[in-house]
Amino acid sequence: MSMVRFEGVTKRYSDGRSGSKEALSQVDFELAKGEFAFLTGHSGAGKSTLLKLMMQMERPSKGQVYVDGVSLNTMKASQVPYLRRKIGVVFQNHQLLFDRTVFDNVALPLLIAGYQPAEAARRVRAALDSVGLLGFEHRNPIELSGGEQQRVGIARAVVNKPKLLLADEPTGNLDPELSEEIMNLFLRFQQVGVTVLIATHDIALIERMGHRRLVLDHGRLYEHSTQHASSAGDDHGL
């Protein structure tokens, strides 16, 4: 059973003068449940578009996208929020809200999902603990360092225990040591069963870590051939 499946997905953006620009062309791939994979490619290769398609932030021009067995093409707009609750996302610019505390930032997905405040508070502390930020609850994210802000973003992404964790350049602004720490954090979530897909162009780090690599080049997707055996599935699922 796959967590994510793309079938002949093409995404075109209309472009003022020359008609349209193809961000993704005929993309086919699958992510097995519990798999850990990297998505690489030059900037503008379509990495963000691919992630946005899974979040229903964009709709494909052609082809089918399935998340957790559900076709997104036929999904009603009213169901989109419930899809997004199954997916945790981490952004390069972390997208934290600076008008509230770390605690309130991380609690946001739980409040939205209708958790009781007591249960939400317990889960927020667990999530902050898992990213090593227990004790930071009442700080404002603006006071934190880049790495700490990124970890708050990760805590928010995982607090609702999503089935799928997506990260768009999560280490883009961080030094190599911090980057590796963040990646190891993602690995820990994979170990408890979360499917993880990380878009990054930090090739050195990816080489060190191994795992499956999907490469985007001008909108076309390739499997990177020299991948190490990973613990959670191979190229074509199980």
Binding site: M55, Q95, I112
Partner: protein, 325 residues
């Protein structure tokens, strides 16, 4: 419900095990939280919203004050109508006994406070005294004046009942005609009805103004929170969840504006009621300007809240769906 911390539990499997009951109570708590939060936000930054509150308050006070005035006037006019006495002219040549019988009948009717009989002879005598035409009247072959029964309706009897009484008396065989001195009262009522209509039209226009003002304020508030809206939509907020704080803000705008307007109306009443009573006393009246009743005040507040809510709905409906992550 899974209760192990994230580090050790199976993160994928336990994500959606929230019971319906928890969901409902969570939903209720969410409403409470949003209601309190949005109110606190408005109250802690009163300057930012003060203009909107004042516009709402003034827009409500204007028709409110006019309505209060009309309400008082129509109460006053209800007192006037009691003073309109009724002249019942008897058929010429009706004999004294029949006239007395009719008088007794009229006295037993509803809404009749008093009735007195003036015979044709009495009437002629009175006329002779008051007109000074004594000699000329002697030349007439017979008394041209009919007998009259003067009827005083009950104080505060509804105008329609008084008219009904006049109509029934008119059909009586012994009665020639009934004269109800109510034309001026009819005109006053027509004038009041017209003024009431004007208040409604003005009220409707000002209500529209409130909707537009709240809508515009909410639009600005949405514009300043675009980033936040994107983020909460990304982490799975439904449109209803995103709308909620804005709708509550509209509701609070209405409530605070309504309260301010009520205060303005009370102050206005305090300022005006003294002079009005002085004026009434000069006319020998015990009239007192009535303040806005509790029911009317409640209608004012609820109406203001409804208008604020409609204004924010309108704005949210137009702008929120344009903001997608």
């Amino acid at each position: 419900m899974a209760s192990k911390p994230l580090k050790t539990s199976n993160a994928g499997a336990s994500a959606h095990n929230i019971s319906i009951k928890d969901r409902l109570s969570g939903w209720g708590q969410q409403h409470q939280l949003v209601a309190v939060e949005t109110l606190m936000k408005l109250l802690t930054k009163p300057l930012g919203s003060a203009m909107t509150w004042l516009v709402i308050a003034i827009s409500l006070t204007l028709p409110g004050a006019m309505w209060m005035t009309l309400d008082n006037l129509s109460q006053l006019s209800n007192r006037f109508q009691a003073s309109g006495s009724m002249n019942v002219y008897l058929q010429p040549g009706l004999n004294e006994n029949d006239a007395q019988a009719l008088l007794r009948e009229i006295r037993t009717r509803d809404h009749v406070a008093a009735a007195s009989y003036i015979s044709a002879t009495q009437a002629l005598a009175e006329f002779r005294d008051s007109s000074g035409l004594g000699d000329a009247l002697d030349l007439l072959p017979e008394n041209p004046l009919p007998g009259v029964i003067v009827v005083e309706p009950d104080l505060g009897a509804p105008q329609n009942d008084v008219k009904g009484l006049a109509d029934t008396l008119k059909t009586d065989g012994r009665v020639d005609d009934v004269e109800l001195d109510a034309a001026w009262l009819d005109r006053l009522h027509a004038l009041l009805a017209l003024s009431e209509r004007i208040v409604w039209v003005l009220g409707a226009l000002l209500a529209l103004a409130i909707v537009l003002v709240v809508g515009n304020t909410i639009r600005l508030s949405i514009a300043s929170r675009v980033d936040e809206i994107r983020v909460i939509k990304l982490v799975g907020a439904t449109n209803a969840w995103v709308r909620r704080p804005f709708l509550y803000t509209g509701l609070w705008f209405g409530l605070v504006g309504g309260l301010l307007s009520w205060v303005l109306l009370v102050v206005g009443w305090l300022l005006v009621s003294g002079p009005v009573e002085d004026l009434a006393r000069l006319y020998g009246s015990e009239f007192e300007l009535q303040p806005l009743g509790a029911g009317a005040a409640l209608v004012l507040l609820l109406g203001a809240m409804l208008l604020g809510w409609i204004g924010s709905w309108w704005s949210v409906f137009r702008h929120l769906h344009q903001i997608e992550p």
